[in-house]
Amino acid sequence: MRYGLRLLEGLLVTVQLVAISFVLGVLLAIPIALARLSQNPILRGVSYAYVYFFRGTPLLAQLFLIYYGAGQFRSAFEAAGLWQFFRDAYFCSVLAFSLNTAAYEAEIFRGAIRAVPRGQWEAARSLGLHWWPTWRRVVLPQAAIVALRPMGNDLILLIKASAVASIVTVFDLMGETRRAFSRSYDLSIYLYAAILYLMLVEIIRRVWNLMEQRLTRHLRRETKPSPTEAAGLVSVVD
C-alpha cells in the first residue's frame, strides 16, 4: 500500500476541517437561531434569507462563490489585509463549511428551543429564576435532547460534504485519494478511502449514541434493581 500514509494524512485533514467548521458553525448558529425567533421583523427576515440561501444552494457553488469569488475583490481584500486568508483554499473551505453548517444548525436550534413548552419558562420565572439560570438549567438541557440527534446527522452530512474541498485543491482524504488515483490508476484506492469514510461515520454514530444515553439518563426506566434494592436495604413492593 504505497499511498496508505498519504490517505491517513488526508484523513487527518478531513477530520480537522470538519471539526473546526462544525464548532464554528454551531457557534454562529446560536445568534442566527435567536434572530429567527426574535420579535424584530428585520432580524427575522435577514436570518430567514441567510438560512434559505445556504440551505437552498449546493455547497460546491457556495465554495466556488467564496474561493473564486474573492478574487473579484482582491484589491479590497489586500487593502484590508485579508487576502492571505481568501487566497488559501483551506481557509475558504472552513469559511464555506462553517457558514453552510450554521444555517442547518440554526434551524435545528430554533426547533429545539421551540419544542420546550412555554410552561417551563413561566414556571422558572415564577420560581424567581433570572433569565440566565432559566436558560442554562431549564431550557437548554431539554432543548439539547431534541437537538442532539439531528445535529449528529448534520455532522455526518458535513463529513461527506467536506469531500468537495478536494475540488478546490485541498488535500483532504478525498483530495489525497484523487491524487493517488491519478498517479496509479488503481481503483482500489477509492475503496480504501470509502472504508476510511465509513469508519469515520461509524465512530461519530457511536459517540452520538453514547451522548444521547447520557443526556436522557433521567428519562430511562431502571431495568436492573438499583444497588440499594439489590443489597436488600429496601424491600420491593409488588
Partner: protein
C-alpha cells in the same frame, strides 16, 4: 448595473443562454435520476421487509454504505470504475478505448445515493401502515399484488411524500458535483463564463440564485402533489397525518 445585465444577456455576447442551458442539464440529470432512485429505493425497502435474511442484510448494507459515503466519492467510483469495467469488456472485442459519459455516471451514482435514502423513507412509511390494512385486504380476498396496488401503495405514497420531497431537493443540489466529471451542468457552465469574463463572484452568485429558483419552483410543485395525495384525508376532516417534514 447595465454592464452586469450585458454579461447575462441572451446571445453570443452574453452568458444568459449558456447558463440557462447548463441549468437545463442540471434539471435533466435530476429528473433522469429520480425514477431510477425511486424504483431502486422501493425495491430495497421491499427487500428489507422480506423473509429472507440474506436479502434483508444486503439491502441494509447497501443503504448504510451509500448513506455514509461522500456523494463525490460514489460518483468517482462509478465514473472511473465504470470506465475501467467497460474498457475491460470492450477489449474482448476491439482495441478502441472509450470515455465514460458524465451524465450516465452521474445518473447512476446519484441514483444509488437517492435509493439508499429513499429505502429508509419507504421503510418508515411501511412501518406506519397498520397491520389491519393488510389483514383487511386479506379478509376481503384480495391477492397480494392487488393489496399492494389498491390498499398499500396509495397510503404509502402519502406517508413517504414529505421524505421523498426532501430527497428531491437534496438531489437537485447534489447534481452540482457532477460538474467535477466533465458534465456541462449549471455549475460547469458558470465556471466557463467566469474563465472568460473574470467576474467570479457575480457569476457564481447568479448560479446560486438559479439553484434557489429551481428549489422554490420544486417546493410549489411538491406542495401541489402533497395536497393531491392528502385529498382523501381532508374530506374526512382529519388533520394531515404527516405534520411537518422533519426527515433529514
Amino acid at each position: 448595473m447595465t454592464e452586469y445585465l450585458q454579461l447575462l444577456s441572451y446571445g453570443p455576447t452574453g452568458w444568459g443562454d449558456e447558463m440557462l442551458k447548463g441549468a437545463g442539464i442540471t434539471l435533466a440529470l435530476a429528473l433522469a435520476t429520480l425514477p431510477l432512485g425511486l424504483v431502486l429505493g422501493f425495491a430495497l425497502a421491499l427487500a428489507r421487509r422480506s423473509a429472507s435474511r440474506t436479502l434483508r442484510g444486503l439491502a441494509e448494507a447497501f443503504s448504510t454504505i451509500f448513506r455514509a459515503l461522500p456523494e463525490l466519492l460514489t460518483l468517482f467510483l462509478v465514473f472511473f470504475g465504470g470506465q475501467l469495467l467497460l474498457q475491460a469488456i470492450l477489449r474482448l472485442f476491439t482495441d478502441t478505448s472509450i470515455q465514460a459519459n458524465g451524465f450516465v455516471a452521474g445518473m447512476i451514482a446519484l441514483g444509488l445515493v437517492f435509493a439508499a435514502y429513499a429505502s429508509e423513507v419507504f421503510t418508515a412509511a411501511f412501518g406506519a401502515i397498520p397491520v389491519g390494512q393488510w389483514e383487511g385486504a386479506s379478509a376481503l380476498g384480495l391477492r397480494r399484488s392487488h393489496t399492494m396496488r389498491l390498499i398499500i401503495a396509495p397510503q404509502l405514497l402519502r406517508l413517504a411524500l414529505p421524505g421523498l420531497a426532501n430527497l428531491w431537493l437534496v438531489l437537485l443540489k447534489d447534481t452540482s458535483l457532477v460538474s467535477a466529471v466533465a458534465l456541462n451542468d449549471l455549475l460547469r457552465m458558470t465556471s466557463v463564463a467566469v474563465g472568460t469574463t473574470k467576474q467570479p463572484f457575480f457569476f457564481y452568485l447568479v448560479a446560486c440564485l438559479l439553484y434557489l429558483v429551481m428549489a422554490v419552483v420544486s417546493s410549489f410543485a411538491i406542495n401541489a402533489i402533497e395536497r393531491w395525495s392528502e385529498r382523501s384525508e381532508r374530506q374526512r376532516g382529519a388533520a394531515s397525518p404527516v405534520e411537518g417534514r422533519a426527515l433529514a
